[in-house]
Structures are given as C-alpha cells and as structure tokens.
C-alpha cells in the first residue's frame, strides 16, 4: 500500500513539475511581452494559457534532424541527461507536513525524505551540466562546443560558492535534511518577523540567488546559450523533440530552483500559524501548505523571468571575476560571520 501511495506521489509530483514547466514557459512569454509593451500570446485558451501546448505540438511536428558527424550515442542521450536531473531535484523538496491517510498510513508530502537533502540537490543539480556538455560536444559544431566550454567553466566556478552559501543555513539548522530546514524556520523572531533564512542569512541568500541564476543558465549568466554570439549555444544543432527536452529542462530547472529557494530561504510550505501543531490535523492544512509553497515558488519564478528580460548578459571575464573575486569571498565571509555569531550566541547565552 505504501508503495502504491509512493508511486502515485511520484507521478503527481513529476507531472506537476512538467506542467509547471509549461506554465513557466507561458509566463515567460507573456511577461517578456508585457515588459516590452506588447501583449504576448493571448489567443489560445484563457489568457493564452494553452500556448505551450500549441508550441509543443508544433515542435513535435518538426523534422528531427541529426547532423553529419555527430556522436550518435551522446547526441541522443544529452537531452534526456539535461532533463532528468532537473526533474530529480524536486524529489527531495517537501511541500507540506506529513498527512495520515485512512488513519494508518503516514505519508510525507515529498517524494523522498533524504537525510542529506541539500547535498543531494547540489550533487544532482551539477549533473545537469553533463547534458549540456555532452550535447555541445556531440553536435560537432563550433558554436555548440563554445557554449559547452563556457558552461563547464561557469558551473565549476559557481557550484563552489553555491555550496558555500548554503553552509550558513546548514550551520543554523544543524541538519542537511530539508524537512528540518523548513521546520527550523517556523517560529517568529522578536515576535513579529518570520524566522525565514532570508532574514537570518541575507548574505547567504544573495549569494545563493546569484548561484541559482548561474546554475539554471538564466539570463545574466546564460553564456552557454548566448544566442547573439553562439547561434543557439549548446543546442544549436538540436531540433524537434530533442530541442523540446532541452527547453523543458531549462524551465523545469527554473521551477525546481525556485522551489529550492522557497524551501531553504523562505520557510518552505510554512507560514507562521499554519502547522499541524497549531491548527490540528484538519483536512485543508496540506492543501493550504501546498498553496503557500507554490505561491512562494512562483514568486521566485517571476523573479527569474523578470530578471531575464531586464538585465543584460555578463561578459565572460566579468562572469569569472564575479564568481571568484566577489561571490566566493562573500560566501566564505558568510560562513565566518555566521559561525562567529553562533559562537557568541551560545557562549553569552
């Protein structure tokens, strides 16, 4: 029975992430249009919501081209390799407190409750690079390769302080488990401020946000793609369904990263006063918590989109300088400051 429940959970979560990737794509097109004083796709369905569907149908009907001289195996494998990690990361993100089904099954509202949740996310998140690099390499195209090379350099520099920026959070929580991290953010500071890590770790939040943009290859850091210089970057040679997979992977990654940001820095599914401890096991609580979680996530999705359409891309050397000379020291500083403050807190009572 637990297996059946888990399977249903997996299906729901993955289908949901896919749907959210489509919704993110729609939001991106509408918002980019609005920011450019246009309306964007508003014809198909209410507010043009069915546009992603039409897009995917169009892309499915396109010819699937395999260029000459590609490394077949890697070329076919790469889109899947970039999509899978984006979907996998979401597995450890909790979207509600455990619910009790039929009076006997305690179901945690997350696909997998891993004790090393943050480590898992960092590890799987960096696997995404393999899809990009393999795709770029296998395409037998100079532009793709350049995109792949940039992507590796970027990922190497930004993974480093991405992990570093989370150390502060882990120190505060004393656990790598995402449920513990969410639970540790549910009280109020000084009686009015939610104890979200956004307020307790402002520097860590900024550094992680920058790393998140780089990790998802979104616009201030979209050097692997940079369509003005590299045609299409790593997916120049991809068409039809394979391109769709890269495309979905990008938006799934945006959604996943937003979910992670909401979980780690914005208190996840919790609002002050919205928990089993305070409301009792009422039926609407999981729904409300999922809604709160989704709202927080969508806020970050909106941030991702609006940043893409207002900020310009960093030059390659600027990217490296920002990564190694600004963000890495800031991440280290954050660890030192957090450690010092915690030490003082403990010793002075």
């Amino acid at each position: 029975m637990m297996i059946a429940i888990n399977l249903v959970k997996v299906l729901i979560v993955f289908a949901f992430v896919q749907a959210m990737a489509g919704l993110t794509l729609w939001a991106e097109r509408r918002l980019s249009a609005l920011m450019q004083d246009r309306w964007g796709p508003n014809r198909l369905g209410p507010f043009g919501l069915l546009q992603p569907l039409a897009d995917s149908v169009k892309l499915l009907l396109k010819e699937d081209i395999t260029p000459q001289g590609v490394d077949r195996l890697l070329y076919y494998l790469a889109p899947a390799m970039s999509l899978a990690p984006a979907l996998m990361t979401v597995a450890v993100v909790p979207f509600g407190e455990p619910v009790t089904l039929f009076g006997q099954y305690v179901v945690p509202l997350q696909v997998a409750d891993i004790h090393l949740g943050i480590l898992f996310i960092l590890a799987v998140g960096s696997l995404e690079i393999y899809g990009i690099v393999f795709g770029a390499w296998a395409s037998n195209n100079k532009y793709s390769l350049l995109g792949g090379v940039r992507s590796v350099a970027q990922m190497l520099s930004y993974e480093l302080f991405m992990g570093g920026s989370l150390v502060g959070v882990v120190m505060l929580t004393g656990s790598l488990r995402l449920n513990d991290i969410v639970a540790s953010q549910q009280h109020l500071l000084w009686g009015w401020l939610p104890a979200w890590n956004l307020f307790r770790q402002p520097l860590g939040f900024v550094v992680f946000l920058v790393a998140a943009f780089a990790e998802t290859n979104r616009l201030p850091f979209d050097l692997p793609e940079s369509e003005q210089e590299l045609v299409g970057g790593y997916h120049t040679e991809y068409s039809s369904m394979k391109f769709v997979m890269f495309f979905i992977a990008e938006y799934a990654a945006v959604f996943t990263m937003s979910a992670l940001l909401a979980t780690v820095f914005l208190g996840g599914y919790g609002l002050p006063g919205l928990s089993v401890a305070e409301c009792g096991p009422v039926w609407w609580l999981p729904v409300a918590q999922a809604a709160v979680f989704l709202t927080k996530t969508l806020l970050f999705v909106l941030l991702f989109i609006t940043v893409r359409w207002s900020l310009s891309r960093l030059r390659y050397d600027q990217l490296m300088r920002l990564g190694w000379k600004v963000m890495l020291p800031l991440a280290l500083l954050n660890i030192v400051v957090t450690g010092t403050l915690m030490f003082l807190w403990r010793t002075t009572g």
Binding site: L34, M35, D37, R38, W39, T306, V307, L311
Partner: protein
Amino acid sequence: MTHLPGPIFNAPGRATADRGLPTPAYDTPRPGPQKEKRLSARPTFFQRLIVPGLLRTWWSGVRHIWQKKLTVQWPEQVREVSDNYRGVHRLNKDDRGRMKCVACFLCQTACPANCIRIEAGPSPWPDRPKYAVRFTIDELRCVFCGMCEEACPEDAIELTRIYSLVGTRRDEMLFDKEQLLTMYDLTRDEKHPLRW
C-alpha cells in the same frame, strides 16, 4: 455587391473608436527624454555597489508590465491610417452610376509595377468613344504608389484607405472591374484631403 476574396476589417464605419475599444497607444504622445545625467569616468561609490544599479535596471523593465501596450489587437482593434493613405484601388462612378473610365490607358502606362490591364471597347454611352470592357488590377503586383491616380485625367481611378486585403489564392487577388467598382460603393462617403 460583387464578391471580394476576404473580409475587409478596416472598411469605413468599422473603425476602432466605433466599437468602443481603447485607442492603441501608438498615437498617444510619448514622454520626452529624461534629463540627461552626466556620466563620469570614475564610478562613484554608490555605482560601485552594483546592487542598487541592478535593482534599478530590473525595475525599469518590470514597471513596463502595467504600462500602456503598443500592440494593435487585430482584428478586434483596427489601426487608423492617415486620411491620404494609399490602399486598395477603386474605380469611380459618375452621378449616373456609370464608371468614369474612358479607357485612355494612361494609368496602365504610368504604372511602374505593370499591374493594371485594360481592355477597351466601344462605349455604350454617347459622351465618350471608348470605355473599359475589362479592367483588372493585380493587387499582389501593385506597389501602391498612386501613380495611376495622378495619371488619370478623368479622376476615374483612386486609392482608398482600405489596407486589409486578404485572399487565399493568387488569382483571387486579381481585382476585376466589378470588384473595383464595389470598392467605390464601399468608400463612397469617405473624406479624403486631396479630393473634391
């Protein structure tokens, strides 16, 4: 009325204002340029912080979300063109309802795109020796330069403000005499700054 290849969305009386839609933003005055700030070679401390500048840049994009849009929502919203816009041709009729054309071939000669084809025949009316038995304009070839209009000694051919001209086949866009005279009926009451 003769059959036309497609619907005419900007025929007179179908203007945007008539259907209660908001006027598109393109003809509202845009705010003038902001007062220019002097850029110094050395960035100030505030500029070196980067983050405030980033936020300002971000906001400069975001605030456009609720600003007025430039898109004309065709076909519900129709763009108003100027009074002397050069659109589809029409063949004028005189006060007795006959076509004014005397088949002098001046428009066909003047046409730089060679899109006018006239076949002349003996006129059924006593006031002119010839008239156009067939008068075909290839609207796909036409460059809408208005030379035919200027060449015509009888004010028989004119360009209207109708620009929404659609068809699904090339031969549909060959407008014959009846269709061109229909265009006249459609636009008979239109004001034009350069005519009569």
